[in-house]
Chain length 355, copies 2
């Protein structure tokens, strides 16, 4: 089985290296091939998603992704900026199902800006659609306003859209995820204002008929943003569109206080997937050897479980991470008084040793 | 000076009554006229925003608004549902500037789900554009997908759009608000993905030239949702579009833990405005006499300050609210151990007495 390794920018290379180290310590052996992406892709080949990188991603069984982005590319035109790599991979490989767990590790409850009783034991899953919505909808651009109060003025515009098959396929992913958990699914939309949302809601209600064991509820996105702050543990699985999911999954991740711990998966319909930490490229701390590699290591575990059918190996990695946390190992971002503060490489070594 | 009083649904009538009581205790006298809106408008006249209510709102100098919405109208077609009243008022009266303070009252820090050190002293202002964006953009509806992978399938769609004059006018409101505060403005967008956002950002940068004393920064909406949880006090004024503002202003309100305390103003270009509490109609507790009237009373204070040019009277009301909090008066939503728990009417009486 072949894994495409795309380290990317900022802390990407450092943290991916540790995940690769952990994979190398398993009994199973995988074929790993590395390629540049994001700013690194632009430097190497003039494009954030070079053809050769895309080809490698297509022919691999799974993709281990670091992070992309750096201030130094801010002045490039949008089509060449690092984040186009991740948007391109999602679209070209039809990775439509983003699974973003927000888990508060018992040892790290104190890292949250929320009160311990609000977040301790938090374990929710956000299922975000990744291929549709206003991210890719056309037409879009800058034009003269065709109508309205400011007809004729210059305006920027985009199209939000969701077709029935797109909503159906993400609905199935979400209902099936809920079946494996507490069987409660909250679909988040803005159906009181948006036609796209009303349409989304109608399809969700229709798909729900196939999952009588799952309790479906609906929530407006503004209310969801509030309830996540007020009582996040009340959720089990949340399903939502690309735009709202972008916002809510980051909000939910930050509730835990330890975004450096949170992995993510982006899957196609055959469970081929891209795996990346939920945090970004953090160019400010790149190269200092202090980044937390655990989200990437846990992303590798998700990869073993979802795309490579090696659930046991995934369990081993997750248990090893638990062990190093219990042993008090902490990178700076999750350091607590009295902990054993370590750098990126030592953390990777500790997980490898705990395997 | 004439004030249109639109109590609406749920707890709306109870809380507006207390605000009217407080207004009545001032030396200044105002002409108040009441009209039905939301579900109450639909019951009385067959429409959530009856013509007579809209006419009254138009001819008044300011509007004191309660809240709209009740589960019992969920099955109505969207055009007749209560929330259309607030959307209609914003649009017809061109109330484009929504000012939503998120303040953590020292006496109520404990009510927050965030740690006291994260929220104590919190005082940020969110300036949300209310007349544009995907809320009103056309075309919108359900159609056969004109292109893409699922061409021909049924899809829901909406149009996000912002014209230059629309961005300019909300930018001026936000910069001027920042000038009166800590002179820091964060414009929130999703310029790495949306054309509308890139356009918005370009106009913000242009308007900034007229306000050299204000420090403008830009933040992506997903990051803003995170930073609000992580370090909300780092913000001063946030300016953003209608859709992102809907989400972020509610998230910010909930950080305080006392959304029952937070007023809001929606202003047109002449500072005529609609004033309403940031919380909703809470139909579950309607008629029980337990709703917190303070957000509505504080909205009346905002009305005096922004639309009626009675800043002194506004101060008096705000100080009276401070006094009743200091005296330990609390409605159930903000009750703390050892407080003096009161109902809606007693709270209104306490403020009136403290004036
Ligand atoms: C980098 C950006 C385009 C991307 C998104 O908005 O999807 C990121 O925020 C994410 O959530 O993976
Ligand atoms: C009721 C709804 C249409 C409205 C909005 O989305 O603007 C509300 O959420 C608000 O923020 O005032």
């Amino acid at each position: 089985m072949k894994i495409a390794v795309l380290p990317g920018d900022g802390i990407g290379p450092e943290i991916v290296k540790e995940a690769v180290k952990v994979l190398g310590a398993l009994d199973e052996k995988f074929e790993l091939e590395e390629a540049p992406v994001g700013g690194a892709g632009y430097e190497a080949k003039g494009h954030p998603l070079p053809d050769s990188t895309l080809a490698l991603a297509k022919e691999s069984d799974a993709i281990l992704f670091g992070a992309v982005g750096d201030w130094k590319y801010d002045s490039l035109e949008r089509a060449l900026r690092p984040e186009q790599a991740i948007l391109g991979l999602r679209k070209h490989l039809q990775l439509f199902a983003n699974l973003r767990p927000a888990i508060c590790y018992p040892q790290l409850t104190g890292a949250s800006s929320l009160k311990p009783e609000i977040v301790s034991g938090l374990d929710i899953l956000i299922v975000r659609e990744l291929n549709g919505d206003i991210y890719f909808g056309a037409p879009r651009g800058v034009r003269q306003a065709p109508d309205g109060l400011f007809e004729g003025a210059r305006e920027g515009f985009d199209t939000m859209r969701y077709s029935e098959p797109e909503v159906r396929r993400i609905a199935h992913v979400a209902f099936q995820a809920a079946q494996k958990r507490d069987k409660r699914l909250t679909s988040v939309d803005k159906a009181n204002v948006l036609e796209t949302s009303q349409f989304w809601r109608d399809v969700m209600i229709d798909v729900a008929k196939e999952y009588p064991d799952v309790e479906l509820s609906h929530m407006y996105v503004d209310n969801a943003a509030m309830q996540l702050v007020k009582a996040p543990k009340a959720f089990d699985v949340i399903v939502t569109g690309n735009m709202f999911g972008d916002i809510l999954s980051d909000e939910a991740a930050m509730l835990t206080g330890s975004i450096g711990m949170l992995p993510s998966a982006s899957l196609d319909k055959n469970n081929k997937g891209l795996y990346e930490p939920s945090h970004g490229s953090a160019p400010d701390i790149a190269g200092k050897g202090i980044a937390n590699p655990l989200a990437t290591i846990l992303s590798a575990a998700m990869m073993l479980r979802y795309s490579l059918n090696k659930a046991e190996q995934a369990d081993r990695i997750e248990k090893a991470v638990q062990k190093v946390l219990e042993a008090g190992y902490r990178t700076g971002d999750i350091a607590t008084p009295g902990c054993r503060q370590v750098g990126t490489v030592e953390m990777g070594d500790a997980v490898r040793a705990a395997l």
